[in-house]
């Protein structure tokens, strides 16, 4: 059974803290993505990666960075958390080639206070 696992389901952090959200997939997928989901705004792409050590900015990269040191792991970093980064964060992965679906993790609901 394919699996994308996010390290935390719920997280509460203080403003200014550095926050790490971890995502691991066991499907040997080349592509990995980080989205945030907010009411009325849908899923918005933050960053994505096509390969180890590669990263591309999505639609809303400001205030975030990512790390992909191993193929199976894609980390999202909030350098200095702010209240407007309170959101649901979803990680996804997919194969590189062909039209294939993306598989999602269960999501991390982050609250910044």
């Amino acid at each position: 059974d394919v699996k994308v696992t996010q390290s935390s389901r719920y997280l509460v952090k203080r403003t200014g803290e550095k926050v790490f959200l971890e995502c691991v997939q066991d499907m040997d997928h080349e592509n990995m993505f980080w989205y945030r989901q907010d009411p009325g705004l849908g899923l918005r792409l933050i960053y994505f990666s096509y390969d180890v050590k590669m990263k591309e900015k999505g639609d809303i990269p400001e205030g975030y960075s990512v790390s992909r040191e191993k193929k199976e792991r894609f980390s999202l970093i909030l350098e200095s958390a702010s209240t407007n980064q309170t959101s649901m964060y979803l990680c996804a992965s997919s194969l590189r080639q062909g039209s294939t679906e993306a598989f999602f993790g269960q999501g991390t609901r982050l609250t910044v206070v």
């Binding site: 993505f33 009325g40 918005r44 979803l90 679906e101 993306a102 598989f103």
Partner: protein, 111 residues
């Protein structure tokens, strides 16, 4: 700019009703359109459509793509309370590019 627009944004129906969810897209070099169902957790994959006019079906759910008019519909017949969810539509354009998502349709099925 590539975009995907879903309508309606929310919908309330009674059990047993049939619903149609809409998704239109403006995507350069369109390659495929995907539907996902999201309950309180991860979106789960429903359908992927690449060819016009070919219906994909799974139980009470079905979907079809019109590449000329740039839209897709998702039909759910004989709705049940378990169909209550957010339904997400996403489009992929050519190359190894991320999915572009619509804002979703929140469907509530009441007994």
């Amino acid at each position: 700019e590539d975009k995907v627009v879903q309508s309606p944004l929310s919908l309330v129906v009674h059990e047993g009703d049939t619903v149609t969810l809409n998704c239109s897209y403006e995507v350069t070099n369109f390659r495929s359109l995907l539907w996902y169902k999201q309950e309180k957790k991860a979106p789960t994959f429903l359908f992927m459509l690449t060819s016009s006019g070919i219906e994909k079906k799974s139980g009470r759910l079905s979907s079809i793509l019109d590449k000329k008019e740039l839209f897709s519909i998702l039909n759910i017949t004989a709705t049940q309370t378990g169909d209550s969810a957010v339904y997400l539509c996403a489009a992929r354009f050519s190359g190894n590019t991320p999915l572009v998502f619509g804002k979703g349709t929140r469907l509530s099925v009441i007994a």
